[in-house]
């Protein structure tokens, strides 16, 4: 994995930004909600306190009364037509209360509008039995019929029943039954409608006609001779108290009403006895394509509340949500709702209304929180944008930085390689002056290369230094041996002396070879360059080589008739001597050693090729160094100085020498600067 990829991977760390943003938004949202709840709680407490000033408006619990027996009078906003149908009621069908019956459920609702109580009952009945004329008020036979009775009492004082029975569908007459007898009541308007599954009754009764307790009883009979089955809305002896909304409390709560706030008051049983609803309907803003993914992230990020439908007032009139129940138990509690679709949240607070130490009811406040929504929305958009920009920026910066860094390192490594290959170990490496780690690296490289250069120089001078130091002791040995020749020696001693002379002679040859390099360098310094024709020199030299090495075939290929250059012909010939010596040493009898001379621009290209073993790859650059020999180790006549001398001469003439393997041997290339100015 290169540096660029590594840093790109590191740049992925910027993705921690959305996480941090999420934490921030989450906490902000929680804090905002908590703040709103606190504020709402304060308001709720204030309202509850003022409501507590009116304990009389809260219907207290009645002894022995079952809450479930109570009926709830829905406040109606419009006047329903008494036509036997529910569809013109400003209520949901879910507001209908249900009773069990033999043929199916009976549903009914009671509404209040303008001093009238409206009753709607739908009865499931497979077989509608109409009453006989004049028998509508008679409940107890002998001839029975299907009917609905409204039990109307004010305990202790009044008990009566209002009976709705029909001789035929349509407008019917309601009879009032009490202990004194029965009579039709013209103030009560009622309509009977037959429908597919049974019948429906709708009626209007003046409020003044009714007492405090109401109950509904449905009698269903299979025929006029059978005793009907009764189902009642109450299980006790008397019906439960009729619950209606209190105009007083309504007025009080209206005073506190604020925009985008829903308020309702319940009695101790949870019945809603006052309500004001200014809560804006969840404005279902059209979700654009751009915000679709926003919504998804929103849902993923923000804590979900309860479904917003649960915040609505109970259609049946009795609030039984956990937080309201908790408030009725005397404890202030909060809840919150959130619409996943719109993102709109509703914060709700339920506050007990306490009068003389007793919980007489509860106040529920609900408020929409567009602020939270917009904050989180904007926050999210900004978060996404910032994250995107930051990630791109960081990635781009890191990429650029990595490119720059890796280019510097690559340049350094290329320069180091070059320095090694060209043996220019003192050249300045890039980035050497920068103060960072790359600079350190460059300086270390330079130091290593310099030491290598020093070492190479030491090696190069070693031969000539050594030969110089050895010359004096060798002179002692040779002169002593030469003197010894003049002394009388026996045969054995003479042999030994002769052997010693041979050895000393060989030693001298070696020393001469060793100092040759320094001699060549010296010659090069003092040489006065002359213009000469390399072609002529080659022709004459190659002819001479053929005489010296009769076992080899020498070929000379020249593409020009003349190739002039500046330099010392003797040294160039000496260089050729070394190359030929090398070529002969690595080839076998009858092999052809080829000299090729071409011109390339202003350069002369001389190549000497010989068949023979290939060069080991790692030796290609070292073979021109001092005391590097690739000949078998038993061949100790060669110190590995020949090609070094050739290199000194080539480089001394401003040229270059290199070696390469050919198909069947080795080629040594020498590039020399030509001198064409004179022509």
């Amino acid at each position: 994995m290169n540096l660029k990829r590594q840093l790109l991977l590191v740049s992925m760390l910027t993705l921690v930004l959305p996480w941090a943003g999420y934490q921030f938004i989450h906490e902000t949202e929680s804090a905002l909600r908590a703040g709103q709840q606190r504020m709402l709680s304060g308001t709720a407490r204030a309202i509850a306190d003022s409501l507590a000033q009116h304990p009389e408006e809260f219907p207290g619990p009645v002894d022995g009364q079952v809450t479930a027996d109570q009926l709830y009078g829905h406040p109606l906003e419009t006047r329903p037509e008494i036509d036997g149908y529910f569809d013109d009621w400003p209520l949901e069908r879910s507001s209908l209360q249900s009773l069990r019956g033999t043929d199916g459920p009976t549903r009914f609702a009671i509404g209040l509008f303008d001093q009238s109580v409206y009753l709607y009952v739908e009865v499931s009945d497979r077989n509608v039995v109409y009453t006989q004329a004049g028998a509508a008020a008679l409940d107890d036979g002998p001839r029975f019929s299907d009917r609905v009775s409204l039990i109307n009492t004010s305990p202790l004082y009044l008990t009566e029943r209002i009976v709705f029975a029909a001789e035929a569908p349509g407008v019917i007459v309601a009879y009032v039954l009490d202990e004194y007898g029965f009579s039709p009541d013209p103030s009560i308007l009622a309509t009977w409608q037959d429908v597919a599954r049974g019948y429906q009754i709708e009626a209007r009764i003046p409020v003044s006609r009714l007492g405090t307790h109401l109950g509904v009883v449905v009698s269903n009979t299979a025929s006029d001779l059978e005793t009907p089955v009764r189902s009642a809305s109450f299980s006790a002896q008397v019906p439960g108290a009729f619950v209606t909304q209190s105009p007083e409390l309504g007025a009080i709560s209206a005073r506190f009403a604020q925009s985008d706030m829903r308020m309702f008051v319940t009695d101790s049983s949870g019945w809603r006895i006052a309500a004001s609803d200014n809560l804006e309907a969840a404005n279902s803003q059209p979700t654009s394509a751009g915000s679709a993914w926003l919504r998804i992230t929103y849902d993923a990020l923000v804590e979900s509340g309860q479904a917003p439908e649960l915040a609505l007032p109970d259609p049946g009139g009795r609030e039984q949500q956990d937080y309201i129940v908790a408030a009725l138990a005397g404890e202030e509690s909060t809840d919150w709702f959130r619409s996943a679709e719109s993102g709109r949240a509703i914060v709700a607070v339920a506050q007990p209304v306490v009068a003389s130490g007793e919980v007489i009811g509860a106040l529920v406040l609900q408020q929409g929180t567009d602020a939270i929504l917009s904050l989180t929305n904007q926050g999210l958009v900004r978060l996404m944008n910032v994250t995107l920009i930051a990630t791109l920026l960081v990635a781009a910066t890191l990429l650029g930085y990595a490119t720059w860094l890796s280019r510097r390192i690559r340049r350094l490594s290329v320069a180091a390689e070059d320095a090694l290959e060209t043996d220019d170990l003192r050249s300045a490496l890039p980035s050497a002056s920068s103060g960072d780690e790359v600079g350190d690296l460059s300086r270390s490289f330079s130091r290593v290369l310099r030491q290598l250069g020093d070492y190479n120089d030491y090696l190069r001078s070693l031969a000539s230094k050594l030969s110089h130091e050895l010359r004096t002791p060798l002179a002692i040995v040779t002169s002593s041996l030469e003197n010894l020749e003049h002394e009388p020696l026996n045969e054995a001693s003479a042999d030994y002396a002769a052997r010693a002379r041979d050895g000393a002679d060989r030693l001298r040859k070696i020393l001469t070879a060793m100092s040759e390099a320094s001699r060549v360098e010296e010659l090069m310094q003092h040489a006065e360059p002359e213009r000469f024709d390399l072609c002529a020199a080659l022709r004459s030299t190659v002819a001479a080589y053929q005489d010296v090495y009769p076992d080899r075939v020498f070929a000379l290929e020249m593409h020009n008739d003349s190739a002039t250059m500046q330099g010392s012909p003797e040294l160039i010939v000496q260089m050729l001597d070394k190359l030929v010596d090398n070529a002969v040493g690595f080839s076998s009898d009858e092999d052809t050693i080829t000299f090729t001379l071409t011109t390339e621009g202003n350069s002369l290209l001389l190549t000497v090729t010989n068949p023979g073993p290939s060069l080991p790859e790692q030796m290609r650059y070292q073979m021109f160094d001092s005391m590097v020999s690739m000949r078998p180790s038993e061949d100790n006549k060669h110190l590995g100085l020949g090609l070094y001398v050739a290199r000194l001469i080539a480089e001394g003439h401003g040229g270059k020498i290199s070696a390469e393997n050919t198909a069947d041997g080795v080629a040594i290339h020498i590039t020399l600067p030509g001198d064409t100015h004179g022509e």
Binding site: R508, S540, V542, P569, E570, L571, V573
Partner: protein, 248 residues
């Protein structure tokens, strides 16, 4: 042979004859000094060995030798041989001086010869070669005393070689050649047009020289001729073979 030690100075007196030529060897390496002394003595010379510049100069104050062999590096005196040579040359213009040293650099050779030495030899040289050179130098000295003989002259165009005196004239002007250079020119010019290879030249010069030394000798010879005649072009390099003298 009698060895006498006088104040750190070795004096070896040739027994054979009082007329023997006297050679002084200034050399700090005792073994070499004695080996050379023994060899010279065997040839009949009288030899005095000195290990440093000061004792040598003191002895020369009394009497100059006939020939001096000097090492350049004398003990701690790195350039002591050069100093000694300069001193001697100022005292006696004709005294043959030979440098015999381990220093084989071109620069040292040029410096030594410029100081007026008659020859510059490295310690590679074998004793017989050294003897030959010394003998040649004495011969030349003797020849100088006698009138010039016709037999010893070789004339090749503008070149005139006196083999006795070992002098060379080019266009009647003397060319100041060292012994080695003289022998090289002599070897080439005796048979003009013939290529002399390096080995032949080496043998002629009575020296073991490597290729580079021959190259620089030839170069020096050419320069000396060119100093007299700008158009000198008689020594031809035959690449890969050697040199030849071209008759003009």
């Amino acid at each position: 042979m009698a060895w006498q030690c006088t104040g750190g100075m070795w004096q070896i007196v040739a027994r054979e004859t009082n007329l023997a030529k006297r050679i002084a060897i200034v050399e700090d390496e005792a073994a070499i000094r004695e080996n050379y002394a023994a060899a010279f003595e065997r040839e009949g010379y009288s030899v005095a060995g000195y290990e440093a510049r000061e004792p040598a100069l003191q002895a020369f104050d009394t009497r100059l030798p006939d020939l001096v062999v000097i090492d350049i590096n004398l003990k701690d005196d790195v350039e002591g041989g050069f100093e000694l040579c300069r001193e001697l040359r100022s005292r006696a213009a004709e005294l043959p001086i030979i440098f015999l040293t381990a220093r084989d650099s071109e620069f040292d050779a040029v410096s030594g010869l410029r100081l007026g030495a008659d020859d510059y030899l490295t310690k590679d040289i074998s004793l017989p070669h050294l003897m030959a050179r010394v003998a040649a130098l004495f011969r030349r000295l003797d020849a100088m005393q006698k009138p010039q003989s016709r037999d010893s002259r070789i004339v090749r165009g503008s070149l005139e070689i006196d083999t006795d005196r070992m002098t060379i004239l080019w266009q009647d002007q003397p060319v100041g050649l060292t012994l080695t250079e003289f022998w090289l020119v002599h070897a080439m010019a005796r048979y003009p047009g013939h290529v002399k290879n390096r080995q032949q030249l080496m043998d002629a010069a009575q020296a073991v020289l490597d290729d580079n030394t021959i190259t620089s000798h030839v170069k020096r010879i050419r320069r000396k001729f060119i100093a007299i005649d700008n158009n000198f072009d008689s020594i031809e390099t035959v690449y890969g073979m050697g040199y030849r003298w071209l008759a003009d």
